[in-house]
């Protein structure tokens, strides 16, 4: 643990999961205007100097001690893991118990604002989906992909907290696929493949958001106006084929009836890193309507669609396109 004596007694913003890619970007945006307390089990090398960092598990009593010792006015909770190879029991406990502990603390210690990171994936890709799902659409992701249960449960916990504790301004953000040069989530990993699989004859519209835009959205959510659940979209949507073309990839179309059993086998023997239900995302629609968020906070993504797509390739950052300078 690395606690420094700090003279700064301003009310703080606590950020859980701060050592992740999104968390680090968020901290770098936020520390200039707010006092930031970061919490994560992982270290945060190169963190801003004026930020306090605690390496601990949210499920432990020490997490609650932080609320006792500091005046915390807002919490940004994104301490959620989704690694398909993780032990399910452990990740469930970490995600769901960790979240409920944080929510309890928010209610008990007079936190004014709570921002919970969820994902548009909670709706789940499906052939029945409307082209743009609004926030009141049912969360169906787990019906075809049981790993999504944790994420849905976290989203639901935050929603019921919103109703039970009206004194806390609660915001649940459901951004579309977050992509970025160092992001290791399934969509970024997939788009980084030189010869990605596609499902032959399927070409759904896909929505992406740049990690910097996602971090900015989390900061915007701290404003007093937004409350409730919001879909957060990036610069729009494009057919999967157009995205792969923009990246210069050579897709390998696999017939849908063969794709699932094949990926199943490959995944089992660790020859592929995508759990088979992820195929739904390159076969069916799971696009959302972000107009509520656009209206309530005047949201517009800073990165264009092409910039967002290209952000998955780290090389782009080195060839002088200036993406990193933002």
């Amino acid at each position: 643990m690395s606690r420094r004596k700090n003279e700064d007694e301003r009310p703080a913003v606590m950020v859980t999961g701060v050592s992740g890619n999104l968390g680090r970007r968020l901290a770098k945006r936020l520390h200039r205007k707010e006092k930031v307390i970061g919490v994560d089990r992982r270290p945060f090398p190169g963190r801003p100097k004026d930020m306090e960092m605690y390496e601990l598990d949210l499920r432990k009593k020490k997490a609650e001690d932080l609320f006792r010792r500091h005046r915390i006015k807002a919490v940004i909770h994104m301490g959620i893991m989704h690694d398909p190879r993780m032990n399910q029991e452990e990740s469930h406990s970490f995600n769901v118990l960790g979240t409920s502990r944080i929510l309890e603390c928010c209610a008990r210690y007079g936190v004014e604002k709570l921002v919970v990171l969820s994902s548009s994936n909670v709706y789940g890709p499906s052939p029945d989906n409307s082209n743009f799902l609004t926030e009141d659409a049912p969360l169906m992701a787990a019906s075809r992909f049981s790993n999504m249960r944790d994420l849905i449960e976290v989203d639901m916990l935050a929603q019921s907290f919103f109703w039970k504790h009206p004194q806390v301004q609660t915001v649940v953000l459901r951004p579309v696929h977050i992509v970025g040069p160092n992001i290791k989530n399934a969509p970024s990993n997939y788009l980084r493949l030189q010869r990605p699989w596609t499902v032959a004859g399927f070409d759904p519209m896909v929505q992406l958001i740049h990690v910097e835009d996602a971090a900015r959205a989390m900061v915007e959510a701290l404003r007093p106006e937004p409350r409730g659940v919001y879909n957060v979209v990036g610069p729009g949507e494009a057919p999967l084929s157009a995205i792969l073309r923009a990246l210069g990839r050579k897709p390998v179309p696999v017939p849908h009836f063969a794709a699932r059993p094949l990926l199943n086998t490959l995944f089992k023997y660790r020859l592929a890193h995508f759990p088979p239900p992820e195929l739904d995302h390159i076969q069916f629609l799971c696009a959302v309507d972000g107009s509520r968020w656009e209206k309530d906070v005047g949201w517009k993504s800073e990165y264009s669609l092409r910039e967002t797509i290209r952000a998955v390739d780290p090389d782009e950052l080195l060839d002088g396109t200036g993406l990193r300078s933002r």
Binding site: P127, D128, S130, N131, G201, D203, A238
Partner: protein
């Protein structure tokens, strides 16, 4: 150039030749500028569509030799086009779409609504999306109408498309959903009577056990054995726009009165069309 590119270019040239005037110029206002990929947010691509419709335009000009009446009744802005449905295969929808693209002033790109199983079909799903078809959920319809688009609906649904020959030109029950949408979004309704399609694939009987076996709604056995259309002549009669007022959540019985008015309008267009035509193939 890839094989796909060559096919696409050839089809595009075919489309241009068939339409007589420059189709690209006529339809340029329909191009979507939502993003740099030339595809609108619903997946419609004008470029793709103009190539893909070549065979449909050929059928429009040379096979079904479509005649339109009163197409100027289609107003600018949002509109629900309500037509009778028939013919085993939905060529009626394709012909109405082609008419609005090539003959309406200005050209309109019609959205029609597809069933929820379409997105599960490889290639078909992509084709349908690129030519502007969407899954018929109420949310999708509302969104399209609020964007001032033209939506084609067949309120008789699947019941009608597989009608048997002796049932031709007998309108089946209309669903109420389209009226709710029209009231909610204050959209005018243009009734359309499609004459000709009902004779294109005369079905003698419905092989129900076979349909059950294949998991499809019905298996009509036609004169030719297949649901392929005969070269009947299509007559598309567009009625005057109908405006309805009321609450979208009113009782079904209230809605039904309005729906019956639309059904009667389609019926009278059909009767006029049948009276005026000189034969099924002429």
């Amino acid at each position: 150039m890839t094989l796909g590119g060559i096919v696409k270019k050839g089809l595009r040239r075919w489309s241009e030749n068939l339409s007589g005037e420059s189709l690209g110029e006529r339809t340029s206002a329909l191009a979507r500028t939502d993003n740099e990929f030339g595809v609108d947010s619903f997946g419609f691509s004008l470029d793709y569509a103009l190539s893909a419709i070549a065979p449909i335009l050929w059928m429009y000009k040379h096979y079904f030799r479509v005649k339109t009446y009163g197409i100027e009744n289609v107003p600018a802005g949002r509109v629900l086009l309500v037509a009778n449905h028939s013919g085993q295969l939905p060529f009626d929808g394709a012909m109405i779409g082609a008419a609005l693209l090539t003959e309406a002033q200005p050209a309109r790109a019609v959205r029609s609504l597809v069933d929820k199983w379409v997105p599960t079909l490889p290639f078909v799903s992509t084709f349908m999306a690129r030519v502007g078809q969407v899954v018929g959920t109420p949310e999708n319809c509302r969104r399209l109408l609020e964007n001032d688009e033209a939506i084609l609906v067949f309120p008789e649904g699947m019941r009608a498309i597989n009608k048997l020959y002796y049932e031709r030109y007998q309108l089946q029950d209309f669903g109420l959903g389209f009226m709710r949408l029209a009231l909610e979004t204050q959209t005018p309704i243009v009734p359309i009577g499609v004459v000709g399609a009902e004779e294109q694939a005369p079905a003698l009987f419905n092989a129900k056990p076979l349909a059950k076996l294949l998991g499809i709604p019905s298996f009509p056995v036609t004169v030719t054995g297949l649901p392929l259309p005969l070269p009947v002549r299509y007559h598309l009669h567009f009625g005057e726009p109908m405006h309805f007022t009321g609450q979208p959540d009113e009782e079904d019985s209230e809605l039904d009165v309005k729906v019956r008015a639309v059904k009667a309008a389609v019926q009278s267009l059909l009767e006029r069309g049948l009276r005026e035509r000189e034969g099924v193939f002429r």
